[in-house]
Symmetry: C2
Subunit: 796 residues, 2 copies
């Protein structure tokens, strides 16, 4: 990166020749953007336009495209002039034509997809595939070289951009921000991301807020307030705004060039100052407000309605072309206004004097390895997770906070990977007992410090732990960080992970498509620890009780989705180790942070987690025989209650045979044909039997287990307990009782389902009900559970 500061006082930085060429390049982009929406043939208009050349169904979005190409063309100049490493994110939804066009023109598209070659035949194929069955969409989907962001993704453009910039000191991430997406919550708070950018260690993000003024049918809010108010908003967010406004292309080129020069100067100034002094402070980074007409250079008017500069330019400005010669003529005039014959040579290739305006090789934004992060990804240096093991003797006799040793492991991972690993959390890493990590790297903080922060604040300008009370922003940063080839870990409260349901959905879809694109190298998995779980939200109450994220997770592509519910410390460590090494998955780990009983030694845990589910022999007494009942625990607290029920039953009925099963890897429940982790039916039957009652105590909503297992042989005997929206201010056991996942309810379930117990079991059931009533009464009187109920009341 050059440290030279461009002269920001030059009013017209582009020479007449360069101006002409850049405008021609932009014309070529606009021609391509329009061409891909309309043309299935005659791509260079070498014959008069006919209906037969037009696609039957016109799809795609013209409105945002010219503005996106405009930014791209200007970035190309900067990249060439300064050898500036850069990538481009297109925030506006459906803006792909404006991005695909320059990608094709700079040659990358043809390199990645050889049949979309740089000639007339390739151009025709390139046009036809757009928004066409079997082709590509109107977002910057994974099929788009250079893209890490689909666009229209519900306001995540800026957070994705920052994720890409973290720990990439030489990278400039240019992000076109749509004025439509700017109205979303995730985008509105993501402007604060600059408060988390360390100018020494991180790269820069240059947002270009593209005020084209309209959404589908409405003006945008930010385009209809005075500039002064908008500038105030941006300054309030901590940015330094620069305005580029107009509609005359040649004037706008000069303005944009001068403004970009100024912005690059400011960026390098902030970086140089910090890097020279070694002092990282919060930068008031530049951003650009680009106000240009929607559908710029397109038809001004159609059928008497304004189109350019209005919402009618949003999608296909000229529709109804069939049997409408006037429209066909208007389309031809519009396309010819770009003078394709001046832009492309006989073979249909961009002419050399324009071709040379683009950077070459990896400096092309479309070819940046950062945007195909798997190429740059290096495996984490990982400590041996066994060294953090909890010492477990007899199962169920020792206790530990399940997430605490994981904190120590994350600390050591951080220590060994101080350039490509980050931990994310919304103000909850300490609450979630992961605070050991601060010994190695604190929470990044670049805003004001106060003396009291020294007392446990754990804040530092070079911290690598990112905490902000916005799950959207954290998830966006994390995704951007992963997609550019790095690693991370995100811990969050279970009840609030629904905030990012749609981000999970979109990332899962992105990965599912990437799995089918040979040139996309695999990236690190997204690891999501869900803690402070429902069963310990007794005191926070009903609003904090929601284990339903798993119901969202299971709907997505089975090659992407993974769910683990480790019951204790050693299983959690083994699971986390596996997840941190995996690629192209979303790993959801559910484990509570509180002090819990421990069950498995590290060796046992590794074996158990490798199998994903298994019989716990030490808790079972059906060895060598078919059991009366299969008792299953899935999740930490449900496992404890299931074990306690098992112990009580074995005490109450001397001859009862119980098989105890624990499930860590939830997708083992699904048939092998439906999920790569699914257990074969034979193995499933050998564990769950073909005809014995199964009492399945589940962490989440009980129906999820039926959804996974409804095809299993013994499904008719599968009886699932789980959370069913019964809760208010409780104690943990009271909450369990309300939802019938408690030891007493489970034992009664067994008695009700094992025929030979029903005769002798009546008095046991009565005793269990009495104990349940006593337990509730104690809690209501004392505000706590009887301590004995946080363990097993009876030994096995």
């Amino acid at each position: 990166m050059t440290a030279q500061q461009p002269d920001s006082t030059t009013p017209d930085p582009l020479s007449a020749d360069l101006l002409r060429k850049m405008n021609a390049y932009w014309r070529a982009c606009n021609y391509l953007a329009a061409g891909m929406i309309y043309l299935r043939d005659n791509p260079l208009l070498r014959e008069p336009l006919q209906e037969a050349h037009i696609k039957e169904r016109l799809l795609g979005h013209w409105g945002a495209s010219p503005g996106l190409s405009f930014i791209w063309v200007h970035m190309n100049r900067i990249i060439r002039a300064q050898n500036q490493e850069a990538i481009f994110l297109a925030g506006p939804g459906h803006g792909a034509p404006g991005v695909l066009a320059p990608i094709y023109l700079e040659g990358t598209y043809s390199e990645v997809y050889p049949n979309k070659s740089e000639d007339e035949e390739g151009l025709q194929a390139f046009f036809k595939q757009f928004s066409f069955p079997g082709g590509i969409g109107s977002h910057c989907t994974p099929e788009t070289p250079g893209s890490i962001h689909e666009g229209g993704e519900l306001g995540y453009s800026i957070s994705h951009a920052f994720g890409a910039a973290f720990d990439n000191p030489n990278l400039l991430v240019v992000v076109a921000v749509g004025d439509g997406e700017s109205e979303t919550g995730p985008l509105a708070t993501s402007w604060h991301s600059s408060k988390f950018l360390n100018p020494i260690r991180d790269g820069a993000v240059l947002p270009v807020l593209h005020l084209n003024g309209y959404k589908i049918n409405n003006p945008t809010l930010l385009a209809r307030i005075p500039n002064e108010e908008l500038a105030s908003l941006m300054r309030g967010y901590g940015w330094t705004p620069h305005f580029v406004e107009g509609d005359d292309p040649l004037t706008m080129h000069q303005l944009m060039a001068a403004t970009l020069d100024r912005c690059l100067g400011e960026i390098h100034g902030i970086q140089q100052a910090a890097r020279t002094s070694g002092e990282a402070t919060r930068g008031h980074w530049p951003m650009i407000v680009l106000r240009s007409p929607k559908g710029w250079t397109g038809p001004k008017e159609v059928d008497g309605h304004r189109v350019e500069g209005f919402w009618r330019a949003h999608q296909v400005p000229l529709a109804g072309l069939h049997n409408n010669p006037a429209h066909l003529k208007q389309l031809e005039d519009w396309l010819r206004s770009y003078k394709p014959e001046e832009l492309f040579d006989d073979a249909g290739r961009l002419i050399p004097e324009l071709k040379e305006l683009a950077p070459t090789g990896n400096l092309r934004m479309s070819a940046s390895p950062h945007a195909n992060g798997g190429i740059l990804r290096r495996a984490l240096r990982m400590p041996d997770f066994r060294t953090y093991a909890a010492d477990v003797g007899t199962p169920g006799t020792t206790r530990a906070m399940n997430t605490k040793p994981l904190g120590a492991m994350l600390r050591d991972i951080m220590a060994d990977n101080m350039r490509n690993f980050r931990v994310f959390g919304p103000d909850e890493n300490s609450s979630n007992k992961l605070d050991a990590i601060y010994a190695v790297s604190k929470k990044l903080w670049l805003c004001d410090y106060k003396p009291e922060d020294a007392d446990g604040g754990e804040l530092a300008p070079d911290g690598r732990v990112l905490e902000m009370l916005s799950e959207h922003t954290l998830e966006g940063w994390y995704e951007g960080y992963l997609l550019t080839g790095r690693h991370g870990f995100f811990a969050t409260y279970e009840a609030f992970v629904h905030v990012i349901d749609s981000m999970y959905n979109q990332h899962a879809k992105w990965l599912a498509i990437c799995n089918e694109i040979p040139w996309r190298a695999p990236v690190s998995s997204l690891n999501l620890l869900i803690t402070s779980t429902v069963w310990r939200q007794d005191h926070n109450g009903f609003t904090h009780q929601d284990p339903g994220f798993l119901d969202v997770v299971v709907n997505k592509n089975p090659h992407v989705t993974r769910i683990y519910l480790p019951p204790d410390v050693n299983c959690l460590l083994s699971t986390a180790d596996h997840c941190l090494r995996s690629m192209n998955n979303i790993n959801v780990i559910v484990c509570d942070k509180q002090d819990h009983l421990q069950y498995l030694s590290m060796d046992e845990a590794v074996k158990h987690c490798t199998k994903g589910l298994g019989i716990w022999e030490w808790a079972s007494n059906d060895q060598g025989a078919e059991p009366d009942v299969v008792m299953v625990g899935c999740g930490d607290i449900p496992t404890k209650e299931a074990l306690a029920a098992t112990a009580m039953l074995r005490e109450a009925f001397a001859d009862i045979k119980i098989r105890f099963v624990n499930v860590v890897d939830l997708f083992r429940m699904q048939p092998a044909g439906e999920h790569p982790h699914g257990l074969s039916d034979a193995d499933f039957d050998s564990i769950f039997t073909k005809n014995r009652p199964i009492i399945f105590n589940f962490h989440g909503y009980p129906w999820l287990i039926h959804r996974l297992a409804y095809r299993r042989t013994n499904h008719a005997n599968l009886h699932v307990r789980g959370y069913k929206e019964k809760g208010n201010i409780n104690t943990p056991l009271e909450l369990a009782i309300s939802n019938e996942i408690d030891r007493f309810s489970l034992a009664i379930d067994v008695i009700n389902r094992v025929p030979r117990l029903q005769a002798t079991g009546a008095h046991v059931k009565q005793r269990l009900r009495d104990l349940q009533i006593e337990a509730r009464a104690y809690a209501f009187e004392n505000g706590i559970d009887k301590p004995e109920f946080d363990q097993w009341t009876w030994p096995l």
Copy 2:
């Protein structure tokens, strides 16, 4: 409301006497807030504090409480002085002690809960119940009189506040905004709500951004930027900020009083100007930045660590009281610092000179009928939905856009309910074909106008349709509007409704609790039309295909949740009519907006929707016999494909007996014991048979049907088709084929499952597979489906 403008130049508006009294009232609040966290006995400290008086488990959140009470006490002065109708929303999570305290002191709590009487015994019960099993939580839950917002609800305080203010011209909604929640996306964009407030017709919202500086373990962003930057941010959002900062109570009282006077003056000024001139313009409404110490007036230091004014004050500032006499002493000193003996009389009741500081009756914010909106709710004047019926002759021969007549119905509802009905949508009401409504009321717009807006912009300063590209904000407005006793309708794209999953969850939980609170009058249901559905997102591609919101919906309380999938116009109208009349539900209606085949006359539709599911005799030929197969359609497009498959099968196999069932009310599938709409097993068996194959063609993810129906007699023969994450850029039929919900796949499913067809069916299966291949080839070549596939290829 008085129009008198308070004198904003008085520096110290409070007389010495009033100052003393207001501070005493605030001390009483703080005493109560601390008391409810700690005390189970000795509520007035009439004996020395002992361990036995302290709760066993200390829960609750002190940090935000004093600031919340501070605002409340000051609002009380304004309300009394100006007879100002007002309600109070507490945004900060877990701030309930600071709200419950003044509610108790002004008598409302005891009126609603007589055993929490205004005496020592009542106070003891009031203290003990807080964060205690069987008691109330530390949010402003539905049990809290005067609350329409739990707090800590993930950033919805401002949008809820605006929902309450719309169409309530005399109401002032004071909303304490937490600086923690301010970092969330939903809160960050909700500041723009003021751009949608009409000063003639609507009330006012006064946000008090409470900078107490800290979240659980971190400083907040907004508290650690310069005031100038924060002021710039607020002005950029369109507000006029006023700062109240400090920690000396007496100084702060004067400052707050003067600032509130000024703000009320500005509010009334804006309202008067607009109401006098009749011209509604966008107001730059006042807001207050209140910077006060976290845990204000609590322990300054504990065990050598700073507490007041630091994050350590967040929850319980003094923990570990048992076996710790020093802490116990410090707690006693702290509690006694409020001098309860000066505040309460012998009986334990607030002394009269303080009592009279609060407003009385319905002017108390805790007793406002607006906060128990069901009291104010009046049923909508509803037109006869039958008048919008589509004219349907032979089923499946006519076509209509399913949502278009609904737009006409909403238009006429709007016309008859211009003060208590609103329509919400994120820039998509036209796209969703509901634009008929603009004939009666346009989209509210108070920002800049441009001449071109006149051409189809449908904008007006008095519009009652609210469109902003933030599902969070819309949902928040809508909830606030409903909870204050009004009605509405919200239409949104299916793929993006996941954005508000957690808002749905919280509102469902709120309603579930309200159903158990006798004094909460029922409110109108939340009606959510989900359109632009997965099966018509073939062209927008994979990111726009997600019918999974239903999987979130079904997890919540069955007394709240409703899901309808009307297959045609008349069923949609009947469903919408039902939903708009219902109360305390969340009604999710799934129906696509495009041109679709029509099936039922209005009479038939009403009957069908009333039953919720039923046999379509005209499509069935099993009359008087057990069918070979039950074919089920649920959702518009799946129904069409299932009908086409039925037609093909009946042509191919002369003797096949098919029963055709359509499901509108999804919860009919669940057993009657699990959902109030659940069908009895006998009825279910009579329709779905006990042993015949069922081919169920479903709109959403197929597993949801198994989750609902796994207990049904014939579940083993239930074969469900639905969306399974197979999609990219397709045509509608191609998308259906990829997910096997198309006519060909369904017909093959039937042949595979009806034993007597298997011998003769091989050639039919081959023919179906050939047709499928031809259909795909046509789409890939032409970019559209063969027109014949958008209807039935063979007549019944």
